[in-house]
Symmetry: C2
Subunit: 383 residues, 2 copies
């Protein structure tokens, strides 16, 4: 397919542009380039056997007198579904559990402290179909569903924080379905959950057929390794969503996503990176990879014939830093684990330098925004 | 200098990457590529004689049944100062008037409807010095200063809207100085003025020594060719600033700037483009070009020796569209005029498709933001 012709943007640039000019191209495109991080041979071997890309980088900060470096290693996973969408639900889920277990094992060998999986990671992204069964059967309790129990076991075994974005079934509230990320402490305890705040009505992303806008606000989770938040998928298009996680103290915001080439690819490198810049924190953009085919053909609201394929999820997961720099992306076609060692001291250093929070005038905006949402708002237009 | 080694990022990519792969690289980096726009030979000749780059593109939209295309041509100017910073003030201003007059004449030959000059275009960006005289002498009345009179004459002669960002002296308010953009209708009337909302305290941008945060809100100007707003320079780092221009109905937001290579270059291509995406409008990012040298050496708050140079303003002006696409940038080293024909129908088409405004939940954010700015705000942190 056309949109899958390049395996990785960064590889293509490296292939053709001579070294000295490449350094300048990379500086202009990406800022200060993160250094590669060494990983154990055993991890490389696991990745090779498992058939997934493994890349690792470190993003440092200046030394300070009063604070030692606050290093944390994050692991971003992107993966295809393992079983066909026609396999029994339990079999699909269990195959994905197994797949991610091997990636988490690899991450743990590399000293990763926090892992985050892609959006709705236990299932195909079936919302394009608008069918209920069997897809709603993938929804689970955030507190004690099989996937949460599985992640708790991973967290304890490898001493990692696990961010597990699932389709949630909320039985307490009469079987409501949500798009939710569960955060599990490295102790194995469920730290809490946070729901997708903005729900797309675009292309085949018919998610509003299944669940509503999240009601958990912009909570931040204090882990042993830093304060994290999760902005799920479409929420990356909403700068205020990113901002409120910052206001609540987030140091790293994960953006587990599922998005396809024709729709969003030119936006992908922009939005999470802009959020890191604007909010003085790290962002981790994670996208599903591969093409998913469903048993019954569906239409796409574009007048074209019914078809069974969703489109190509282009992966390209990356980490962006508050100074505007970013890691290279994982590939567009393959499963991958991206590891980044981050010195969280960089956030405050950049904030002290650029001062976007200090100069933000949020009080004025709170008032302006409160006015502009009123039904009888009069825009300030000068003629 | 190191940061000026590449004349243009786009040219470098074109030079080395084979055509088919270049198309994919461009799609991933920039989205749908704008088509080149033909310009009259007389305009090319003027640009050649004047020694400035001239590039022109068109960004179309789908045909609609009830609305004809709403085509507008914008002209973005980037230029070096003409006279040395030691020349008499009046001479510096008048040389810049002359320089821009020839660029506006060229733009007019190309059918441009709205032109926008760079930030504080009548002067060197002298705020690094922290000296008052002679630099504050560049400040003028927005209503009837010599530069506004000059722009009114241009507007009438060429039937163009002129956006003229100047250093303003506000005599009504006891000689207050502001960083202001004056908007002049194609009829020659002053439509109004709008002030820079966010003032940097970073690097050598000691602007807060000279003027305060603007008090004109987020007004939008209804011109014959569409509704425009002006987000001056550092305001591009503030997503709420961009948002409020959208709330007031802006269809094109100009971002006249002055920013240097070492500081912001990797952010440059991100922020105005993110704003176009997030707010369903066009953005025009304009940056000064060249290196400015001042008579008295100054320090930069970085512990290094006093020096007379500010750093390299890297130009690279570009236009971004609401669908995430953008034009190539002007060069990093040279004066230039970038013309873009925009179909403003694209804004509503993209809004109807992506729906960020509809899904934006601004009422919730107005409340959250009002809470978070309180001195006794308790962040929502889960432990």
């Amino acid at each position: 397919m056309a949109d899958a012709a390049i395996k990785s943007l960064d590889e293509t640039l490296e292939k053709y542009i001579p070294a000295q000019e490449l350094a300048e191209v990379n500086r202009i495109l990406y800022g200060r380039r993160p250094k590669p991080l060494d990983v154990p041979v055993a991890a490389l071997r696991l990745a090779e056997v498992g058939g997934f890309e493994l890349r690792a980088f470190t993003i440092g900060a200046a030394p300070e007198q009063l604070r030692p470096p606050r290093l944390v290693r994050v692991g971003l996973m992107q993966n295809r579904i393992v079983e066909p969408t026609t396999a029994p639900v339990a079999q699909q889920v269990s195959a994905l559990h197994k797949r991610l277990a091997s990636m988490v094992e690899t991450a743990a060998l590399c000293g990763v402290n926090i892992v985050c999986f892609q959006e709705a990671w236990t299932m195909p992204f079936a919302f394009c179909t608008r069918e209920r069964l069997p897809w709603t059967e993938f929804a689970e309790s955030a507190e004690d569903g099989p996937t949460t129990l599985f992640c708790q076991e991973l967290a304890r075994r490898y001493n990692v924080v696990v961010v597990s974005p699932i389709l949630e079934r909320d039985e307490v509230h009469r079987d409501t379905i949500w798009n939710t990320a569960v955060v599990i402490s490295n102790s194995g305890a469920v730290l809490g959950k946070t729901r997708k705040n903005h729900i797309p009505r675009v292309g085949d992303f018919n998610e509003s057929t299944y669940y509503m806008e999240g009601n958990t606000g912009h909570r931040v989770f204090q882990t042993q390794f830093g304060r994290i938040a999760i902005n799920i998928c479409y929420g990356r298009h909403h700068p205020l969503n990113w901002l409120m996680y910052a206001e609540n103290g987030a140091e790293i915001v994960f953006n587990p996503s599922a998005t396809i080439g024709g729709l969003s690819e030119p936006l992908w490198a922009i939005e999470a990176r802009n959020a890191a810049i604007a909010n003085h924190y790290f962002t981790c953009a994670i996208n599903r990879v591969g093409t998913e085919c469903f048993p019954n053909a569906f239409t796409s609201g574009d007048g074209k014939e019914a078809h069974c394929e969703f489109g190509h999820f282009y992966g390209s997961s990356y980490v962006a830093a508050p100074d505007g720099s970013r890691t290279p992306g994982l590939g567009r076609m393959n499963d991958g684990l991206l590891i980044a060692e981050l010195d969280l001291n960089l956030n405050r250093q950049v904030s002290d330098h650029w001062g976007f929070r200090m100069t933000g005038r949020y009080e004025m905006y709170a008032e302006e925004l409160a006015r502009s949402v009123k039904h009888d708002f009069k825009p300030d237009i000068h003629k």
